[in-house]
């Protein structure tokens, strides 16, 4: 077990997060963020999305560079496989959100992580999206995330990292709770 703050380094600036928490508690308007992406259809089921700016701390913000994401369907869907499927992006979103959370919680709790890997799998009966059976939902029937974590801590403390990460994860919340989606055109 780590015996002093400075010896544990998971690369997370916990002091900054704690300071932000205090400051935003006093200025809740600054805590209102908007995350964005732009999407352009290419051909078939292939589209390209870009992420460059977001709103937060009372102002427009820019990422250091524009991030680009190609999405497509695979050849078994008679498509061209020019990118991962949209549902795989959701799995990536969930896995990366939980993993970031594990690192942050570990840093805060003075636990040194040595390696954290996850495999994430969402099962889907495509009769839903193909409209074959209306009792089958479009989305995942269930999602399973399996972590392997090598860290300087007791098993129950490692389990607690994973549990706490879910508790405070944005994507976990998005996936497990209802969210209003409004789509407008022209």
């Amino acid at each position: 077990m780590a015996d002093s703050d400075s010896s544990v380094d998971n690369g997370v600036n916990v002091e900054a997060l704690i300071a932000a928490r205090e400051a935003l508690g006093k200025a809740p308007q600054a805590a209102l963020f908007k995350w964005r992406a732009a999407c352009e259809w290419k051909n078939g089921t292939h589209s390209n999305s870009t992420v460059e700016g977001f709103y937060g701390l009372g102002a427009e913000q820019q990422h250091k560079r524009t991030f680009s994401f190609d999405a497509d369907h695979p050849e078994v869907f008679a498509a061209e496989d020019k990118g991962a499927t949209p549902v795989e992006y959701v799995l990536v979103g969930l896995a990366s959100c939980l993993t970031a959370g594990i690192a942050a919680v570990a840093q805060h709790r003075n636990i040194q992580l040595r390696s954290v890997t996850a495999v994430i799998e969402g099962d889907m009966d495509i009769q839903g999206i193909l409209g074959i059976d209306e009792d089958v939902r479009n989305g995942f029937g269930g999602i399973k995330v399996t972590y392997k974590i090598d860290a300087d801590a007791k098993p129950e403390d490692i389990e607690a990292l994973v549990a706490q990460s879910q508790k405070r994860s944005a994507v976990y919340d998005i996936v497990t709770n209802p969210t209003n989606v409004t789509v407008v055109v022209n």
Binding site: G142, Q164, P178
Partner: protein, 401 residues
């Protein structure tokens, strides 16, 4: 507090909108028992003197206990007096009631934190065919229609109510969010005994890293079961109660939506329980109890089915009643002194309110973890009456706002 003020010969009056122990008489269910053992309710100069110290007071016994205490200390209570407003500032307060007004130099807010049952805003979109009851209104299963019941909330009230209703022959589905699991008896002694002995209940508010969060923690999932059994989710599953995730919303077609986070909610609760029991085990070891107490043990993990239902059609007739056991919030609509924060809670430092001469008592983790227990009143009242007396004597260093 009245007893402490009387001990200091501080002239005071206690305003009560009903009879002494009003909310116990009018806002609790019939079979309720305290979740703390009888010996643990210790008021100044007044404790349990019966022959069942490890038992749990029934509702009538709680009412008698409080009413008898008021009589024993000859508390100056004005009953059937409803406070309509408290205004003023700094040593000059005006308390208006439906029986006249009082001017006073100090005010103690003892109206508690459980005035209004908290119910999610989407509850007004429930189908009209479903009867809606809060834990504050609920009395017993026989007042409910026959048929299935959805109990929302799995802390102390929710689990007890779910258990009682299911045993009455109405199939219960229990919606579970954050909850604090705990064994009733641990290593041969009441869990509350350990928490008291190990100093957990005496933890001070200024020793806690995030006191705002600690004050929002739901009640321990403990019940005053006469046989001292543990009423946790596994016990409920055993008798056939169906466990689903947190009630997250209602669709336009009248279906309940349950969160997909049930497994983690139960994992968090089990882990938290493990940490409490580890703390107790460490204390037991360091204080010579390993020889006299039963060996350490852990309850089996909370059983969660592979794919808990994520929805339930509330128009289909399977659910006839919803019981909301989703907590309470205080009512400060009568408090005209500007001491409320942006969440509508009183701003205070361990019960010393942000307006000089005003005090708060009887809320969650006010000064100590035990502040919301009857047993916590004595220490809090002693501390705050000290402060109040010093204030009246002009002995306090007044801080400029």
């Amino acid at each position: 507090m009245s007893r402490c003020l009387a001990d200091r010969a501080i002239d005071h009056v206690v305003l009560e909108r009903g009879e002494v122990a009003h909310t116990w008489r009018t806002e609790r269910w019939d079979s309720l028992r305290l979740l703390t053992p009888n010996w643990q309710s210790r008021l100044p100069g007044f404790a349990y003197d019966g022959d069942n110290p490890d038992g749990y007071r029934t509702l009538p016994e709680v009412i008698d206990f409080i009413a008898n205490y008021a009589k024993a200390i000859a508390a100056p209570v004005q009953t059937h007096t409803t406070v309509t407003s408290v205004g003023g500032s700094d040593g000059c307060y005006l308390v208006s009631t439906d029986r006249g007004d009082w001017r006073c130099r100090t005010v103690v807010l003892a109206s508690g934190a459980c005035n209004i049952a908290s119910v999610p805003t989407f509850a007004d979109r429930l189908p009209r065919s479903v009867v809606n009851v809060t834990a504050q209104e609920y009395r017993n299963p026989h007042n409910l229609p026959d048929g299935g019941v959805l109990v929302v909330g799995a802390s102390s009230s929710g689990t007890q109510i779910a258990h009682e209703i299911h045993r009455s022959g109405r199939a219960v589905t229990l919606s579970v969010g954050e909850h604090i699991r705990a064994p009733r008896v641990y290593r041969g002694r009441d869990l509350e005994w350990w928490m008291d002995a190990a100093g957990v209940l005496d933890q001070r508010y200024d020793e806690i890293e995030d006191i705002a969060r600690a004050r929002r923690v739901p009640s321990l999932q403990l019940a005053g079961t006469p046989d001292r059994s543990t009423l946790d989710l596994n016990a409920l599953t055993e008798i056939g109660v169906k466990i689903v995730g947190r009630f997250a919303g209602i669709t336009e077609s009248g279906s309940a939506q349950f969160a997909g986070s049930l497994r983690n909610m139960c994992a968090l609760s089990d882990l938290k329980m493990g940490r409490l029991l580890d703390l107790i085990d460490a204390w037991a070891r360091e204080n010579g109890f390993d020889d006299v107490a039963e060996p350490p043990q852990r309850l089996p993990p909370t059983r969660v089915e592979g794919a808990p239902p994520l929805g339930m059609d509330l128009t289909a007739g399977e659910i006839k009643t919803i019981v909301w056991a989703t907590g309470y919030r205080p009512d400060y609509s009568w408090l005209k002194v500007p001491v409320l924060d942006r969440k509508g809670l009183v701003r205070h430092d361990g019960g010393v309110v942000a307006s000089p001469g005003m005090y708060l008592i009887g809320t969650q983790f006010l000064r100590r973890r035990k502040s919301s227990l009857i047993d916590g009143a004595a220490d809090d009242a002693r501390d705050l009456s000290d402060h109040l007396a010093a204030y009246l004597d002009g002995r306090l260093v007044r801080e400029r706002a």
